[in-house]
């Protein structure tokens, strides 16, 4: 039985009890506990069911590598699934529940998977690939629904996240990852030399394993005391920033790192405090001091709750004062696990035996264990574990030369198995950005190759590993390696005072080399490793890896994908090395030849909230608002996005029958503009000033038509193509001065057009004397359109807007109704129309003045939909509707706007290509449906011939389609193959299974072909 020890526990505060709830049950722990240690203290050893076989699972580890104990933590808007119990700090009122079981944790139907698997070849490697291939139809109706029900870890939260998250950008000379003794030494050395240092530690505590290894003395004191001293010294230095609860999630190009700080997980709901903070760090040098992780040993049933890593057992005893069992068996390949036997012994937990895989066991740690009366059996191994939901005992035997458990079996009763297969340096971060590894056969580990580390922007290696992460598992080496790494990192960033903090004296027990042991097959039932778990989270066994190899998946990357080894959320922290060693053995290769799979960020999962930061809710997307936006909202506007802008789609009025529908509002707005006068907020229209002696020459190259001949005070509609000859923006160009032009662009295209102009000016025609400046936001602009437009402006007064003074396509500056204004006589509706621009801070005033002055003339605002319908009635194209990046001006019958006189313009050479002049290109046409009430769907395809069964051949598609209230019928524009030669032809548009809409090809100008309405 697991229990809290009567005393001890370095990081818990026994004077501060904490209540929490686990699966509805009220339990008690202490401040400083993790959820894992508190559960263990309450004898909760069964903490979940495995992913595939639904086998009972308990804690394996005490830290970031824990694969099993994933839980749903929190309630309602703070619920989050898949939290590692070993990483969750206990706080008052915490609620946790287990996942991946039904109907209950103790009795789980899914566990049948395991029973079935023991009798039939299912769920082994590649099972899904092999099984669900045929018949095809079964995948959709049988396999997928069933798998979906059973698959997945945890349940997604149902409510929106109540917490806030933020990012924080920081630059430093040296980033030290890991707050153990190596990291602290590195930070100290770097800081002493004057570097700006940021050191972060993923747990709440500095010191790493030094807190636990009480046999070791540093500088004549305990590891914990030494750590305390270092932390005090570092926190007193101005050039050092220290962060606990801060996990380095990934290293990226050129010294970029993402750090995941859990600011308020342990104090949920703290007012104004973000729950997580994502640090976006740019570091000159990075010191990776991430320590090492212990490896499990693959023996049969090594996943029964109560089988744990030896180091974790020691952690629970010494850090949290928890005994994970009453009677333990330690199974090891090395000296280190003897510390666990000693720790248990000291804490009063019986140790039945230490089984050591090595034939000969010498050294001080085993000697101390023997001296403490602990039985040490050299050359022994565990054949299998007995027990279901918790360990009841182990079957042990002598290891043969082949590495099997052979000979006579014995059974030892116990409820705890502490295993140690040796240590693997945490090389994840080192590898994220291309750092290479080298195999150390003697120590049986992959370690960073310092010659082939990740490189920075200048090509130099910018990451240094130190301490256990660098393969140095002994305290003195960790300390000195850390100091050297810190010094080098500081010096590489230009900080070299020659300071080397004094090296503390270390008293540690020397250790012998381990015996590598990757797989512990035994004879009998589980001879083939089907219950020898490598990847606990994804239920991958030794047998799966062997099967993959036999089936030809010999590359480690293939074997990984075939078996899913290391593909769970723990990314194979405990399984990787064992798995590839088994693969190497199976294919008869050496471990370094097989290599590792690729390590990728994040090191441990991070929250979506942290990634998102502030960009959620109203801040998710940056929205642009015009100066009249709030007024529109108050006026019943339904907004629609246009680029980043929010524009009124229409203004829905209240009527005696209730609020208008969108369609009713649009119809009213169109008829009112056509019959009286409408007001459109056109502030979003892009505006770019182009000025300089070469401005005309430049615009002649940018536009397809001639702009240099435009007279001051006049406007011209222009087209812009890319170098590929295709139309990408249009708008009215105004010559505002001898060497100054104002170019209007589409609302969504201003940035694109401005960037396009600057690109050509800076990278091709850099000798031109031209400046461009975007002034979109400087001006609020209102289109006053309709037969009464002139009357409205005349009422405001101050500027002569008569046809004589301000003819169509001209422009004037003046004071209109007391506002400094620019008036453009241009029309996108086909009506008599003026666009009035004033400085944006006066935009609201302009709108209000126009509305007031326009009242007696029937002025009403109209939105973008009315605008679109009116322009379509006039046959005006819309960028993005009639164009899609493959359409030329000629395709749209806009050839008149493409100069034939100019020697060059952007896109001219492209338009000379033969295929653009070929017959059969899609060309713009108008469409009149046979039934005038029928509105073709946008994008509907015209077909050559309507066929019932076989494939129909498309000859074009609808680009714009509306019901025109002006004409009382539907109108549409379309791009149709050879369209200009099809006038009068009736085309078929199959729009649904049994529905074909017929429409006649007509001129795309539906209304006022002669343009009489705008020329008054």
């Amino acid at each position: 039985m697991a229990h809290r020890l009567p005393s001890g526990g370095l990081v818990i505060d026994r004077s501060k009890p904490v209540e929490f709830t686990f699966n509805g049950q009220k339990l008690k722990g202490f401040e400083g506990d993790t959820l894992a240690s508190a559960l263990l203290a309450n004898d909760q050893v069964l903490l979940g069911r495995s992913f595939k076989y639904h086998r009972p699972r308990g804690l394996i580890a005490s830290g970031a590598e824990e694969p099993n104990a994933l839980m749903g933590v929190g309630e309602g808007p703070r619920f989050e699934p898949n939290q590692r119990a070993t990483g969750v700090e206990l706080h008052q009122g915490l609620t946790a529940r287990t996942q991946n079981h039904w109907p209950s944790l103790g009795f789980d139907v899914g566990a049948l998977n395991s029973w079935i698997a023991s009798r039939a070849p299912v769920f082994s490697a590649g099972f899904y690939y092999k099984t669900f291939m045929f018949p095809r139809v079964a995948w959709k109706h049988v396999f997928e629904p069933v798998i979906r029900r059973a698959a997945g870890l945890g349940k997604p939260p149902k409510e929106a996240d109540a917490d806030e998250y933020e990012h924080f950008h920081v630059h430093c000379d040296v980033l030290v990852v890991g707050g153990g003794i190596a990291g602290l030494s590195a930070a100290r050395a770097a800081a002493a030399n004057g570097a700006r240092v940021l050191i972060c530690e993923q747990t709440p505590h500095w010191g790493g394993r030094a807190l636990v290894e009480t046999e070791t003395q540093i500088g004549g004191m305990s590891g914990a005391d030494w750590v305390r001293g270092e932390v005090t010294a570092l926190s007193g230095m101005e050039n050092v920033t220290m962060r606990t609860r801060c996990m380095t999630s990934g290293l990226y190009d050129h010294g970029y790192a993402l750090l995941y700080e859990r600011v308020a997980d342990h104090v949920p709901g703290a007012e104004g405090t973000p729950r997580h903070r994502l640090w976006r760090v740019r570091a000159g040098r990075i010191v990776v001091a991430t320590g090492a992780l212990e490896r499990p040993i693959p023996f049969a049933n090594n996943d029964v709750p109560g089988v744990m890593l030896a180091s974790a057992v020691r952690d629970y005893v010494r850090l949290w004062g928890v005994a994970p069992g009453e009677k333990a068996v330690v199974f090891t390949t090395n000296d280190d696990a003897y510390r666990t036997a000693l720790a248990l012994h000291e804490a009063g937990v019986a140790v039945a035996a230490v089984l050591d895989a090595r034939a000969e066991v010498k050294g001080e740690l085993p000697a101390r264990a023997r001296a403490a009366g602990i039985e040490v059996r050299a050359g022994y191994g565990v054949a299998k574990v007995k027990g279901g939901k918790r360990v009841k005992g182990v079957e042990i035997g002598r290891l043969t030369g082949m590495g099997q458990v052979g000979g006579r079996r014995e059974e030892l009763a116990c409820d705890l198995v502490a295993m140690s297969g040796g240590w693997s340096p945490v090389v994840h971060l080192w590898s994220h950005c291309g750092g290479k590894l080298t195999w150390d056969a003697e120590a049986a580990m992959f370690r960073p190759d310092p010659e082939r580390g990740p490189t920075g922007h200048d090509g130099a290696v910018n990451t240094l590993a130190c301490g256990a992460a660098n393969g140095y598992l002994h305290t003195d080496l960790c300390l000195s390696d850390g100091r050297v790494a810190g010094m080098s990192a500081a010096s590489a960033t230009g900080h070299s005072r020659g300071e080397m903090p004094e090296a503390p004296e270390v008293q540690a027990i020397p250790q012998a080399h381990p015996r590598p042991l990757w797989f512990m097959p035994a004879r009998g039932k589980y001879a083939h490793g089907t219950k020898h778990f490598l990847d606990y989270q994804n239920d991958v066994t030794a047998a799966d890896v062997q099967l993959a190899a036999r089936e030809g998946y010999e590359s480690v990357e293939h074997a990984k994908r075939y078996t899913t080894l290391g593909m769970a959320t723990d990314q194979g922290k405990t399984s990787n090395i064992n798995g590839l060693a088994i693969l190497a053995d199976q294919i008869g290769a050496e471990i370094p030849q097989v290599g590792t799979t690729t390590f990728r960020p994040p090191y441990t999962p991070i929250s979506f909230g942290a990634i998102t930061g502030r960009a959620r809710g109203p801040l998710f997307k940056a929205v642009r608002k015009t100066p009249m936006h709030d007024r529109h909202a108050a006026n019943g506007a339904d907004f629609e996005p246009v680029g980043d802008w929010e524009r009124p789609y229409c203004f829905r009025r209240m009527t005696p029958e209730g609020r208008e529908s969108r369609a009713q509002a649009v119809t009213r707005e169109i008829l009112n503009a056509r019959q009286k006068v409408g007001l459109l907020d056109a502030s979003t229209l892009g505006k770019i000033v182009v000025k300089g002696p070469d401005a005309g020459k430049f615009l002649d190259l940018v536009y397809t038509n001639m702009m240099s001949t435009l007279k001051p005070g006049r406007c011209r509609y222009g087209l812009m193509c890319n170098e590929n000859g295709f139309l990408f923006d249009d708008g009215v160009v105004v010559r505002t001065g001898e060497d100054e032009f104002l170019c209007h662009t589409t609302s969504g295209g201003a940035d694109r057009v401005h960037a396009h102009m600057e690109e050509w000016l800076q990278t091709e025609w850099w000798d031109f004397q031209v400046y461009t400046q975007q002034v979109t936001d400087q001006w609020a602009q209102v289109a006053v359109a309709g037969p009464n437009a002139r009357k409205v402006l005349e009422k405001l007064g101050g500027v002569d807007v008569s046809d004589a003074a301000l003819p169509f396509m001209s422009y004037v500056e003046g004071t209109l109704g007391g506002l400094p204004a620019r008036i453009f006589r241009i029309s996108f509706s086909g009506e008599l129309s003026y666009e009035v621009a004033v400085p944006a801070n006066l935009g609201l005033a302009l709108w209000e003045k126009l509305a007031e002055a326009g009242e007696e003339f029937g002025a009403m605002p109209y939105g973008t939909e009315a605008l679109h319908v009116m322009r379509a009635e006039k046959g005006f194209i819309m960028i993005g509707d009639e164009t899609d990046g493959t359409v030329t001006p000629q395709d749209l019958a806009l050839g008149w706007a493409v100069s034939k006189k100019k020697a060059d313009f952007i896109g001219k050479r492209a338009q000379e290509r033969a295929f653009l002049a070929a017959k059969g290109r899609k060309q713009l046409v108008g469409l009149a449906t046979e039934d005038p009430a029928e509105v073709l769907p946008d994008g509907a395809h015209a077909v050559k011939e309507v066929k019932a069964k076989s494939r129909m051949i498309t000859i074009g598609h609808v680009t714009s389609s509306y019901f025109s209230p002006t004409l009382g019928r539907s109108i549409a524009m379309a791009l149709i193959e050879g369209g200009s030669e099809r006038m009068g032809e009736v085309l078929s548009f199959p729009v649904a299974k049994d529905k074909v809409v017929k429409a006649t090809v007509v001129d795309p100008v539906f209304y006022d072909k002669e343009g009489e309405r705008q020329n008054v």
Partner: protein, 106 residues
């Protein structure tokens, strides 16, 4: 997340401040060029494994275009220089040659 130095304003900034613009030093072929020349100009790119000259704009900064010489394998940036030139500065070419003796040259 590359670290790029804008030669115009001197900022060493995150990649997010910059907009990439493809291969640098393309020679424009306009009206009068052959189909082959125009095709090469518009569509053909070297896409080298190794030393690459590329265009960037300091879009969220001073707005200026510049060129970067960068290794597409290691991400090493050999240098950046303003975009109003038709070939890389000789000094930079020498720097690259020293670091990449196998490089075929600009």
């Amino acid at each position: 997340m590359l670290l790029l130095t804008c030669p115009h304003c001197g900022v060493s900034g995150d990649e997010t401040e910059f907009a990439p613009g493809g291969e640098a030093h393309l020679k424009r072929f306009g009206p009068g060029s052959s189909d082959g020349e125009f095709e090469t100009y518009l569509f053909y790119r070297r896409n080298p494994k190794g030393v690459h000259f590329e265009r960037w704009r300091h879009a969220f900064g001073c707005g200026k275009w510049f060129h970067a010489a960068r290794c597409t394998v290691t991400m090493e940036v050999f240098g950046t220089y303003p975009a109003d030139v038709t070939e890389p500065p000789a000094e930079l070419v020498e720097t690259i040659r020293a670091k990449r003796p196998e490089w075929e040259g600009f």
